[in-house]
């Protein structure tokens, strides 16, 4: 736990070297262990749980990803991190973009994995599958190439693990209910991100399709877009080793 501006934030630090800030998706840290472990062999991985997620406090009045980005700017100051590689997945990618549009003073580069956060398509249809309006089994199918990476025996989970799942769901609703999974202001701010950005996108992502990622990356000056085969919306879970390798190659 670390205190940021009075809020108690759950935080894990692993490894030594260049700081790598991992910003988890709306489903929390489930399935991220392999990626984190691999990155920690080459740098210091810093893994917070976002406000309201995991065991982190939800500060009063915080209700947008924009709000959240200021807490992370404070966190970077608090830990006095420099040359940070920010790796964000899905909602974490949205958060990475919100942080970097404010300042990249402490940031070396971004890696956006299946990032959401901007509105690109038609106004009468959501760009992103509505997690709150899709039956769970269908959402799993659309999100994962192989659902075994997600499915668990809920009966076997501890009370604490179940509570974290419920908190993550609630926090997702708080931050992404409406507008669903985006900030209408973010698109016009993306030009401010001047550091190199690597977009990694699961080829089989049907939650936020690769075309969405391509169009998103085109809005950032120094961005490149790459797909990851055999992965859905969370390549950092389904292809942890390959995603880790791409991140480490970028850092060289």
């Amino acid at each position: 736990m670390v205190s940021v501006n009075g809020a108690s934030i759950e935080l894990v630090r692993r490894g030594k070297g260049q700081p790598i800030l991992f910003l988890h998706p709306h489903i929390g840290l489930h399935g991220s262990d392999a990626l984190i472990a691999r990155l920690a062999e080459h740098g210091e991985v810093i893994v917070p749980s976002h406000p309201g997620f995991g065991h982190s406090d939800l500060p009063k009045g915080m209700s947008t990803v924009d709000d959240m980005s200021y807490l992370y700017l404070d966190l970077l100051d608090e830990l006095d991190l420099r040359e940070v590689v920010v790796v964000g997945a899905s909602l974490g990618g949205w958060l990475a973009a919100e942080i970097a549009t404010k300042t990249t003073e402490r940031i070396a580069r971004l890696v956006m994995i299946g990032a959401v956060g901007v509105k690109l398509g038609a106004r009468d249809q959501s760009d992103i599958v509505d997690i709150f309006a899709t039956p769970r089994s269908r959402w799993e199918e659309l999100t994962f190439r192989d659902v075994k990476f997600w499915q668990r025996d809920y009966e076997a989970l501890s009370e604490d693990e179940l509570t974290v799942i419920a908190r993550n769901r609630e926090a997702t609703a708080l931050f992404a209910w409406n507008p669903y999974m985006y900030n209408p202001k973010l698109k016009q701010r993306l030009h401010r991100i001047r550091v190199p950005v690597l977009f990694l996108w699961g080829e089989a992502d049907r939650f936020a399709p690769p075309d969405y990622g391509r169009a998103y990356s085109a809005l950032i000056p120094r961005a490149r877009f790459e797909t990851v085969s055999d992965a859905g919306h969370f390549p950092h879970i389904e292809q942890a080793e390959r995603v880790a390798r791409r991140i480490l190659e970028e850092m060289k």
């Binding site: 009045g61 709150f132 309006a133 899709t134 039956p135 769970r136 959402w139 809920y154 009966e155 989970l157 009370e159 179940l162 509570t163 799942i165 419920a166 908190r167 769901r169 609630e170 997702t172 609703a173 708080l174 209910w177 409406n178």
Partner: protein, 391 residues
Amino acid sequence: MRIYHFSEQPCPEAWGPENPSLRVNLPSRNCDPRAMAEHYHHRLDEWLLADELGLDIMINEHHATATCATPVAAVPLAILARQTKRARLLTLGYPIANRLDPVRVAEELAMIDVISRGRLEMGFVRGVPYEVPLSQRSAVGQMERFWEAHDLILKAMTSIDGPFDWQGEHFQYRNVNVWPRVYQQPHPPVWITGRSPQNIREIAERGYVLGTFLSGFHTKGLFDQYRKACADLGRAAPAADRFSYLGIVAIAQDAQEAMRRAEQMVGYLRTSGRVAEPFTTPPGYFSLADATKMVKARGKRGITARDGKFVDTHHGAIEDLVKAGIMFVGTPDDVTRQIADFVQSVGGVGHLLLMGHAGYLSHADAMDQITLLAKEVLPRVQRPASSKQAA
């Protein structure tokens, strides 16, 4: 005790098994507007009869559903405000945490109160979980928003010295100045539905009427929380008029016919919970402890009857629903006895809200039910048998 006639104004033609979800995502192509027009006219005629015969009137609202095709309670209320002569007009209620515009709520209700010459009973509800997917706002922090909306509506209605600004956590307004001024001073009576101890306490603190729906013999526990809150505050025990209960009534001159009507009406319970999976547990609606349990397994809604039997609210047999206090079924004698029994068991109810039309019940049957309730039940429950005296 007052008796209110209530219908959800359903569209039962859309209840076929081909439609697995009757709320949120049921396409409106399932609604035949010509049939719906008939329904609306019939229901309004039933409320007019209720007014004529001495019953009061209750309206509610739900959205995007065939179980209750009243998305705007203000519409039937406005019609009835003009067309009725004496009935109290209860809306129970306005889902004020889901609506974006509390000042508009105050304006709608103020007009209805004035047109009806002060007959509005103003009910606010949190709304069922499956109303949340239709709201622009998530259920996270919903109750905080509910109370802020409530505070703003009441201030808007009672401010008579010109505009004020509202700069709250959830709502911001410039120049709030509601016209017309409400007819009932300082404002129409407030009702709020509650189930959780925290919520019931807040309702009791403000001295509002507590609304309870289909909670059967569990209702006593809810009323007791209200009574306890009053006692804790050092106040006198609340009168029966602080309590209301909604049940379903099937009544006829002979018991067999009443049972036939009950079968037609119970379609309401059978279908009201028919809703697609993602909409039943919106995040933020339930406490974290309950939400955690729901991650594991979905809860089943039911009531324990007085004999200890668990009765599934949505699928229980009619006899069991009567035993649980959810339905009142039979001849006027039977229904009077069941109501008296229920009222006694919960320690007094000032307002009995009766769904006298539901499901597939015909207009003629509903008119007959209203007549029997008004002529044969109301006089007897208003004056319980034990204290009956020559007039």
